[in-house]
Symmetry: C2
Subunit: 118 residues, 2 copies
C-alpha cells in the first residue's frame, strides 16, 4: 500500500456515488454541533485518517481541500466512522474558528426553516 492509498479493507466497504465520492458529515467532537457536509474521494479519506487534518474533495474546484489551509479554520480529526451502507462518513473534529466560509460557526446557522411544529 503506497503512502497515498486507502487501506483496501476500507476501500472495499465504500459505496461511492457516480463521481467516486462519499459524503462526509463534520461534527464538533465535544459540543456535538453539526458543522458542515462535504465530500471525499478515497485519497481524501486516506489523508483524513492519516494526517489528522480533515481533507475533502472540492467538487467545484476539482481539487483536494485541506480544510483551513486558506482560512486558518482547521479541523483537527478526532475520529472517523463509516455508516451502515458505506456511502457516508462521520468525521468528529475539533474545529478552529468558523466552519462556514460565511463566518458562521456552522453552515447551518443562518437559515432556520419554519416548521408547523412547536
Amino acid at each position: 500500500m503506497d503512502a497515498m492509498s486507502l487501506d483496501p479493507k476500507i476501500a472495499a466497504r465504500l459505496k461511492r456515488n457516480a463521481d467516486g465520492l462519499v459524503a462526509a458529515v463534520a461534527q464538533q467532537y465535544d459540543t456535538g454541533e453539526v458543522l458542515m457536509l462535504a465530500w471525499m474521494n478515497d485519497e481524501a479519506l486516506h489523508r483524513t485518517l492519516t494526517t489528522g487534518r480533515a481533507t475533502y474533495w472540492s467538487r467545484s474546484r476539482g481539487e483536494f481541500w485541506v480544510k483551513g489551509d486558506t482560512s486558518g479554520h482547521v479541523q483537527h480529526v478526532k475520529s472517523v466512522a463509516l455508516d451502515c451502507d458505506g456511502d457516508t462518513v462521520l468525521v468528529k473534529v475539533d474545529q478552529v474558528g468558523a466552519a462556514c466560509h460565511t463566518g458562521e460557526r456552522t453552515c447551518f446557522d443562518a437559515d432556520q426553516l419554519e416548521t408547523a411544529i412547536g
Copy 2:
C-alpha cells in the same frame, strides 16, 4: 400553494443534485448524536416541515419514506435548517428507538475507522 408543494421561497434557495435531491443529516436534538444521512426532494422536505415526521426520498425504492412507518422507529421533527449553499438540510429530531435498520442507535455506530491520531 397546494398542500403538497414546498414554499416557493424555500424552493428557490435549494441547490438540488442531478436527481433533484438535497442531502438530509438527521441529528438527535438533545444528545447531538448524528443518526443517519438520507435524501429529500422538494415534497419530502415539505412533508418534513409540515407533518412533524421526518420524511425522505428513498433512492433505492424510488418512493417517499416516512421514517418509522415500517419499523416504528419514528423521527419527530424538532427543527430544520438549510446550509449556506442550499444543498443540505440539518433535521433535528427525537428518534424513537434505533435510527439504523441494523438495530444500532445510529448508522455510524458499527464501523469506526482507525486513525493515525490519538
